[in-house]
Amino acid sequence: MDHPFFRSGKRWRVLFVAFLLLVAVSPAPTFAQTAKEPAAPHIAAAADLQFALPEIVTAFVRGGGAPLKLSFGSSGNFARQIVQGAPFELFLAADEGFVAQVIAAQRADGLGTHYATGRLALFLPRGSPIRADRDLVDFAAAVHDGRLKRLALANPEHAPYGRAAREVLEQRGLWLAVQDKLALGDNAAQAAQFAASGAAQAGLIPLSLALAPEMAKRGAFATLPESWHTPLRQTLVLVKGAGPTARAFAAFLRGPQAREILARNGFGLPAP
């Protein structure tokens, strides 16, 4: 070709451009998707299921179920995304409120089902000057005597565990006192991250996360009384357009195998 770009003798430039084009048109899991039959369904799961859910999915798949794709985050965020048309097929929220939102927006297929109950825990990273006790006695003292400089919790606006944490603090008369010490996580898992990193002296996080080995090795925890906050009724709902795999999995979650895994991860169980 009569163009200086090529005549400079560097044949690799041609190869470079060819390589780029190759990568660009290589099988895209995304573009191909629309043409093929439904790929693995997307499941939106509240962050407190970070450890329990993969285990349940493994059991599901081993039992002959089709593969699933999991996304973890705050229930409120997912509710918003689903309302905006995000292609999730199953929504596992950490409480009922956000499921109601999805139903009200007519994005749900059926009603929500309560399949587990979450618990709130006080987590203290190693080296924290605060002692773990389920009555929050030392905690309250730490708030007032300055040992607590930062408290990690999920954002009460859109994370049910954050809402529960706020209720607990209000109930103990500590909410106002900790206002300037809050480190809000975008979801319950991020709050756990803050707490585990030691950036906060304490964290109010899901029990299911505090129990996990990755967290357990970084500190101690105490389970807080259920009566101190509105129950965290883990609710699942199918999203409009849910396929057979999603439905099968929703049913599986209510079955004995899943319940056993949930119980081991610190969730309470309703009657089957």
């Binding site: 780029l20 990568v23 660009a24 973890f72 292609p87 991250q193």
Partner: protein, 223 residues
């Protein structure tokens, strides 16, 4: 381990953004460099805007426009039957818009550096505007073009806020490498996060390093 679909997604997004944006950048940069048209200052400012706004602001506005109720979202649905939010399509479009300053500005500088007389000489030799672009302007502006390509590529690889807001975190569909890292950190899987972070750094490093290689002597200093 390594999230291969996230890596592929990131590379595809980066490559496609770069390849699609480059001709657009050339078309936009040429008049900005050489013509004093009314409203030029405004266009200049708009081009620079994505550079100055926080990704969350960009993500917020893009989400509003891409949503099924939004103008672009509806148009796209009618045109292709696909959703613009929570899909690769939306990521690509968002990426194109967000990377405009990275693509346009180096190209604009490169065009500005071409002496007017070089183009005039080409015209007097009988070259049409198109021939002048292809045989004179682009070769002379090549370092700027290469810069624009590398910057766009690397910036797209690292894009997080806008991608998260517009695409969500859908495994295999919109979970790019940078989001996958975020995802693994939240799952307390630090080793996977570290592996993917290192990979991202290496790719960026190679891309930037290749810039030197790409712009080495287009015969300018004489071999």
């Amino acid at each position: 381990m390594m999230d291969w679909s996230a890596l592929t997604l990131s590379l595809q997004l980066a490559v496609m953004t770069t390849l699609l944006l480059l001709p657009l950048a050339v078309m936009l940069a040429r008049p900005l460099a050489w013509v004093n048209f009314p409203g030029k200052g405004l266009i200049d400012a708009l081009v620079t805007l994505p550079l100055l706004l926080p990704p969350t602001v960009l993500g917020f506005y893009l989400l509003g426009v891409f949503a099924p109720q939004g103008a672009l979202g509806q148009a796209w649905l009618t045109l292709t039957g696909r959703s613009l939010v929570f899909s690769f399509d939306g990521l690509l479009l968002a990426s194109l818009l967000v990377n405009i300053p990275f693509a346009v500005q180096p190209v604009q500088r490169a065009f500005e550096a071409i002496p007017r007389e070089a183009r005039e000489a080409a015209w007097c030799c009988g070259l049409s505007s198109w021939q002048t672009l292809w045989r004179v302007e682009l070769p002379l502006a090549w370092p700027g073009l290469a810069s624009a390509m590398v910057l766009t590529f690397v910036h797209t690889l690292g894009e997080f806020g806008v991608v998260l807001m517009v695409g969500g975190n859908l495994d295999g569909a919109t979970r790019t490498l940078s989001i996958a890292i975020y995802d693994r950190v939240q799952a307390f899987d630090d080793s996977a996060a570290a592996r993917m972070s290192l990979l991202l750094v290496l790719i960026a490093f190679v891309a930037v390093g290749s810039l030197h290689f790409l712009t080495r002597k287009v015969g300018r200093r004489g071999n």
